[in-house]
């Protein structure tokens, strides 16, 4: 069972959360000009790294708010939890273990 730190509620059990997959996939803005390959890439292609992965989580059985996290996909250790809009690479905003 993973211990996941909701940036609003604090550490809670994994069973309270649902995972929303890869984070920071921006919907293309110039949709009129996209090729089928570019649409396919946006809709279906994923990074799926073996290592650190930034992903979206929903505190489904808690505050019901979305947030982002950085987690290692081999050790499952979380290194960062951050709210939507926060920059995980900015030194001050990194809320690891908060």
């Amino acid at each position: 069972m993973l211990l996941i730190t909701c940036p609003w509620c604090g550490p809670r059990a994994e069973s309270e959360f649902s995972c929303g997959g890869e984070a920071h996939i921006a919907r293309p803005l110039d949709t009129d000009t996209l090729s089928d390959e570019q649409w396919g890439d946006y809709l279906f292609m994923r990074k799926n790294p073996k290592g650190d992965h930034r992903e979206q989580w929903l505190h489904a059985s808690g505050c019901r708010r979305w947030f982002n996290a950085e987690r290692n996909t081999v050790s499952y250790v979380f290194s960062k939890f951050y709210k939507p809009g926060e920059n995980p690479d900015a030194p001050a905003a990194a809320g690891g273990g908060a």
């Binding site: 069972m1 994994e14 396919g40 992903e55 996909t73 081999v74």
Partner: protein
């Protein structure tokens, strides 16, 4: 290769079974091969075997990071069936099932393929509508299948709780009599032995660390045992497919998740068919050794650690206990996770790529074991002829830009 028969067993009994030939060689890598298959699981070994047998290639290597069949081949619930909904999937899985039916004889290796039938249980009116639709679709495609009433289910599996008072009552089931289970290790070992006999080099403890390309074509791989040249490379590496795709600069629509399974202590024979429930997420069969083989779901998050989270097991066992009250006091022996590469439409990708000579066979997700021989058969054709067989033409990588998905999620009677 020594053939296995009653006579060779008797002859070897004279020497206390100490002089059996090794089942396959452990050669040193050659500097170059006509074709390389990356991944020594069931699918990869089957690919190499059919490349040699059906397409006359002899200078082939299978490279495997660990040991043969140590990944998902050894980590599944061994169910074999072909009752998918859509034509493309049904034809592919039915080809595999037909190969399974003759495989023990063909490989001279007992795959313990047991056609004990697979029952997919429905718990709601919509489940039953889907089951009727799927069974009708199967029969139109020449795949066997019947719809069972709750009474017929009870007659067949008396230990199942079919009472109307269940939270999710059993309202019926589809049943495919030709489906069943097989021995997971035997399929890897059988294909390895048969491929080796046809001259295929099986290179274990040989991890691929790079894929060499020149002007849009592959030229070879870098491995922990040195550099190997080849102009045909097939990647059959399941949960690690995107790790290899990254080496070649290819994006795949796959995400790797841990899928868990568990086995109980051995019991007397009590369940003679395979029971699956999509809605409450339980599937269970009993192995020849007597243990219950139970499949759980995938973790919702990505993971390469070959273990899974406990809530998933708890969820599955709740459903098993509800459906089979007699199992409530059974103790579980072992639990494990395998890394499955899941595609958005829950269907595999068996495809050429934009790099000449580089082929991918991946995305089998939670249901690859059943397809092992068929997967190898179409992959071998795709690699040898440099074009897909009619059976896997629809499973190309470009379906994620053309939009021609084969949406088996929820349609296939699969517990995902």
């Amino acid at each position: 290769m020594n053939r296995f028969s009653i006579f060779t067993i008797a002859r070897n009994a004279m020497s206390y079974h100490e002089n059996w030939q090794k089942q396959w060689r452990s050669p040193e890598p050659k500097s170059s091969y006509d074709a390389i298959v990356v991944g020594g699981g069931g699918h990869g070994l089957a690919t190499a075997y059919y490349l040699a047998k059906e397409h006359g290639m002899r200078n082939i290597a299978v490279v495997e990071r660990g040991w043969l069949g140590g990944g998902n081949t050894a980590r599944n619930t061994t169910i074999v069936r072909s009752n998918y909904l859509w034509d493309d999937s049904t034809h592919l899985y039915e080809k595999a099932l037909q190969l399974w039916e003759g495989l023990s004889q063909e490989l001279n290796y007992n795959t313990m393929f047991s056609q004990r039938g697979v029952m997919n249980v429905g718990h709601s009116l919509q489940d039953m509508r889907d089951i009727h639709r799927r069974v009708n679709a199967n029969r139109l495609n020449g795949v066997d299948g019947v719809v069972l009433s709750p009474q017929q289910i009870k007659d067949m599996v008396p230990i199942m709780n079919t009472s109307a008072s269940l939270r999710y009552p059993v309202m019926g089931a589809s049943f495919q009599p030709r489906a069943g289970v097989a021995r997971h290790d035997a399929i890897a070992w059988g294909f390895a032995r048969a491929a080796d006999a046809l001259g295929v080099d099986i290179l274990q403890n040989c991890e691929v660390v790079g894929i060499r390309r020149e002007s849009g074509a592959v030229t070879g791989i870098e491995t922990t045992r040195g550099s190997i040249n080849s102009r045909k490379i097939g990647i059959v590496s399941a949960g690690h497919s995107t790790v290899l795709a990254d080496m070649a600069g290819i994006r795949l629509p796959l995400e790797s998740h841990p899928l868990q399974a568990l086995v109980s202590e051995p019991l007397k024979p009590v369940l003679h068919t395979v029971v699956m429930s999509n809605a409450i997420h339980a599937y269970v069969s009993q192995s020849d050794k007597g243990d219950l083989v139970i499949g759980a779901g995938i973790d919702s998050y990505l993971g390469y650690g070959q273990r899974g989270s406990f809530p998933v097991i708890e969820h599955t066992l709740q459903a098993i206990c509800e459906l089979f009250p007699i199992f409530r006091r059974v103790r579980m022996n072992r639990q494990w996770g395998g890394i499955v590469d899941v595609a958005p439409d829950a269907c595999p990708i068996i495809s050429k790529t934009h790099i000449k000579g580089l082929y991918f066979n991946c995305g089998w997700g939670t249901g690859g074991f059943k397809a092992t021989p068929g997967s190898g058969w179409v992959m071998a054709h795709t690699m040898a002829q440099d074009r897909p067989h009619a059976l896997n033409a629809a499973f190309a990588l470009d379906r994620f830009s053309t939009g021609h998905l084969i949406d088996e999620h929820g349609a296939a009677g699969v517990a995902h």
